[in-house]
Symmetry: D2
Subunit: 347 residues, 4 copies
């Protein structure tokens, strides 16, 4: 039995999800699509073998032939579709951000919490990258003892003119926030942003790059270089430093070419090329889990909200020029880690 998936939003990200679902995910079918541009949705549906096209995305959510929904529409529309999925009690995989603000994200958390059942997954795909998984596995196995630092760099080759200084935080650094929370299993409680001089190769007025230092509730420091116009390629770096050693995320394997006095490997041009296998593995794991009736296996609505709250503190620190604490609501019982829930149930 295939999981019948509907996708809302078929731009660059959404159409890529559609292709992956149709061609590379086992036991899943692309059942329906919807897009503000109906012609685009129709063309894609035809290319991929005939998914139903809904003019109204809310109808896609309610379609009885749609078992689960992927939301990849424009950022400001995510929240409404996620809430509709909750109302329809259908699993939903939502591209980040969950909602336009941390406060709005909290509303999603509360709606899901009121429902009493986890249906929402935020598409932090790095949790499915083999490199990150390798770091996580060895960290959990105690390979470097208790962690003390996480050093990160997040570099894009370039960004479009619509990209704002705040988006270095909301679009880019948010991935490092989620990875760190996942690696460490702790909340981030403060952010300090420092700005070096800006590159002259971004658009006028963009304050790019930035440097963010985060603090976890148990005293780990996380530093993130965010650089939107790094020119040379899309490059993601991460090292966790512990009491007895360090773990470093490897760049993806690539053929070594020795030529013209140089020993070189290619760097991925963009995030899609870099995280292609992670995107596929995310869809497969999500599809498998929700088809089996279980909770979504990845980042939860709470994770989406917590990342947004940290990013809010980051943006506030950028504007204020000093350290800002993260204002985090109390975590509903629904999102307690499995071990804590067991304890609660046993008490």
């Amino acid at each position: 039995m295939s999981l019948r998936i509907g996708v809302i939003g078929v731009g660059a990200m959404g159409s890529s999800h559609c292709r992956t679902i149709a061609r590379n995910v086992s036991a899943a079918t692309l059942a329906a699509v919807s897009d503000a541009d109906s012609a685009r949705a129709g063309a894609l549906a035809e290319e991929l073998g005939g998914a139903r096209v809904h003019e109204d995305p809310f109808e896609l959510v309610r379609d009885p032939d749609v078992d689960a929904v992927v939301v990849a529409s424009s950022d400001d529309t995510h929240m409404d579709f996620v809430l509709a999925c909750l109302q329809a009690e259908k699993p939903v995989l939502c591209e980040k951000p969950l909602a336009p603000t941390a406060a709005a994200s909290l509303a999603v958390v509360e709606a899901e919490s009121a429902l009493g059942r986890r249906l929402v997954q935020v598409a932090f795909m790095r949790r499915y990258d083999l490199g990150y998984l390798g770091v996580k596995e060895r960290l959990d196995a105690g390979a470097i003892g208790l962690p003390l630092f996480v050093h990160c760099a997040h570099r894009n080759a370039s960004v479009p003119d619509s990209y704002t200084t705040e988006m270095l935080f909301t679009s880019s650094a948010t991935h490092e926030v989620d990875v760190t929370r996942w690696f460490l299993g702790r909340e981030i409680v403060a952010a300090t942003v420092m700005s070096p001089r800006s590159t002259r190769l971004g658009r006028d007025g963009l304050r790019d790059p930035q440097f963010v230092v985060l603090e976890t509730d148990d005293g780990v420091l996380v530093d993130v270089e965010v650089f939107a116009n790094a020119q040379y390629g899309y490059d993601i770096r991460c090292e966790v430093v512990g009491e007895t050693g360090t773990l470093t995320l490897p760049p993806p394997a690539d053929v070594v070419l020795r030529s013209e006095g140089q020993d070189g490997r290619r760097i991925n041009p963009d995030f899609r090329a870099r995280f292609l296998p992670a995107y596929r593995d995310q869809l497969q794991a999500w599809s498998d889990a929700v088809a089996a009736g279980g909770p979504p296996p990845g980042a939860s609505a709470w994770d989406g909200y917590a990342a947004a709250a940290v990013i809010d503190a980051g943006v506030a620190s950028l504007h204020a020029g000093r350290r800002k604490e993260v204002a985090l609501a109390a975590r509903p019982e629904l999102y307690a880690p499995a071990d804590e829930r067991t304890v609660a149930a046993a008490t």
Copy 2:
């Protein structure tokens, strides 16, 4: 519409294929299984959601609810099942070797050629490994000019007692033979085997490791260290040397652990861990192609035969202690490369 796949042989390799088909291949279903050990087949079918179990593997081949067949039974049985698939005109993906001898492999080639339609793929999965694909792509793009050498090493951590000296050639070096033919698009015409002293860590009487030097019909030299009891891990190395540079197959990306005075990466323990993504990609690509009614996209029966003929020369050289030429039959028109066929058609 899912491709309904039947799998003959559910030992280590076959059961792994079954799981991949059931869980990780899009638009494919595990429809039927058969194994000399019926209980094993039944247990696996149940675990994977209810494939039909055939006592008689030839019935599986004829089953109208089976669209395509994977052969992963014991080596000496491959040929009969492949011939049965040809008779039933069903696509078949056959683990290597295609047949017990080069002569027998040629019989398969002739049967398929007589049918006039390509249905057989030999499961040389390295053609789907991203590293090898990267080397091939850049070689074809002229990154190192005309190739002159291919240097290879094929090391297993250890092998069971049933492993013979000949198997260093038939089971191990055959992969390097296929990769080289695929990289270069040329036939191998001679083999020279040289034997260093044997490791004391293999079983008594095993002449392990071996060193094989192959020659292509246009003068490229290919050397292969084959080492079945290398102890430290499963390690596959390959470098192509051209007129202007070299291309090196990278080891799979792995987390770098710095600990206890050492900067280290793990080495895969065995071939399954090393080539896991290649095995999946092979099944997906094969399934997609044959579902679309096209020829199998990977190594053909001719490739399987040619590898066997080269390995025959290698084993002969091992025993004779000197260079042996490869005795290769004329290649049927069915296996001409696409460009040659176009030319032929146009003439």
Copy 3:
């Protein structure tokens, strides 16, 4: 004609310098030694072929058979010996720090400036490390455009119980301060120190590791992880990020051992092993330059003072828990870069 060198202080560092001078520096002789422990000085002199032993280090400075002096005694004694060398108008290579405080270092700067002639070199040996030189060369050649960040890590395997939290700055981070000033040719104007939780593997009360963020006068951000008890080895990392690319300091080349499931390289156990060639090259370059009557070619008294002023700001930030500006005196004309001096002379 050999340069006759006298060495004050023959502990771990000083005796190492003596051996290098006696055995590995061309056109230089170990002429005299002095140490608070005269027996130690005598034994070393005998081992190395008969240098003169001075009970009084100031006599060594005045010894007419000593052309130049290396100061490697305990930190708090450096300044007096350097001032004595200035009085005797003899070139002196002084281990860092130049003086116990930035203010005292400034007094050395002023004394040398009053003399009107550069005689002092501070032994920041990294300026002679081939890796750092490679980064500097390519940075100056414009390989990555204008620099924006310098990311550094400075990890010791362990430190003795006498090592204090302040020494993470004065003994360790001071190297990164000097390297950064040298790389960028700019002054550092502010320091912000952030402290993660401390490792449990250092001595009680030591606040180790630390994280320092420095700002140059033209807006480059420099971050330094300083970790005195990193356990796994002595590991120095540095990456410069520019507008079009990055330059990374390589670890020293080491044999790759594949064994027991691991592909590994050794990490140096301590700084002496790591920077052995740099120590030699520093002595050779210094000896050659001062023998030729030229100014010392490495870090000047001004560089030593500036590093101390930055480190003062770092320690102040550590204690205050917030950003501190660097209080830097005006730079005397004697220390103007060559190009500025040319301009001044031409005007």
Copy 4:
């Protein structure tokens, strides 16, 4: 007391030795030079501070102010100067080859053996390269158990038109022969040369590259790719495969530049840049040892002869197209390894 060194031949190699002796070797002086081109010798002597210039190189050998001699003249003149040094009982460091033929090299061995005292060192400088030393150290320490294979590549970017096919063996592969004998402490007993097609980028008629397989007297196989016009750089590769692991020679450390979609390191353009530190360390170690009156510490006349005998077999194999055994004279007692000599003395 400085060792007074005379250098015969001040072309590219010899003048480089002169500069190293004058500027970078401790306790050594460039005392005299001689060259077929006297003007060239005179200019170099003046540049380096006034060494004596001998019109007649044999006078240089006899000069009482010359303690030791370096021979770096044209290949066919080496032998006469080495024999003159033996007659004068002066230590001599001779560039390879020791003599024009293996037979002539044996005459040198016999002359030295008759003298009863080792004075000759052949300048196989790789024995002083830190990478090779690291491999040797760990091999001797048993890191990979008993060795089975040595895989080598020796690539030059390009060679002058005067370079012949035989020189791939006599000038290039001879280094691998010496390194292997030194690593393994065994003699090589046979050579098999195989020739791939030739690169079109060398001069007409040059059969470049070549592939050489050597066999040691205890059954280790050594394969060497020799490629004189590899275009992309000077690249030396070596991996020793043992019963439990492998040791790989690292390329020299170089800064990593990430730029324009590439993560790259530079490759040395030629052997001088690649082995610069080894050349210096060779001169220092040789000078120290002979100044102390000891035997030369590096490759002996016997090593030079044995390499020549192996290369002779290689050239014979090239011409004959089949395996050739090495014809090796009996080794005089003078060249027995230290441990064997002890045993002999004790008996």
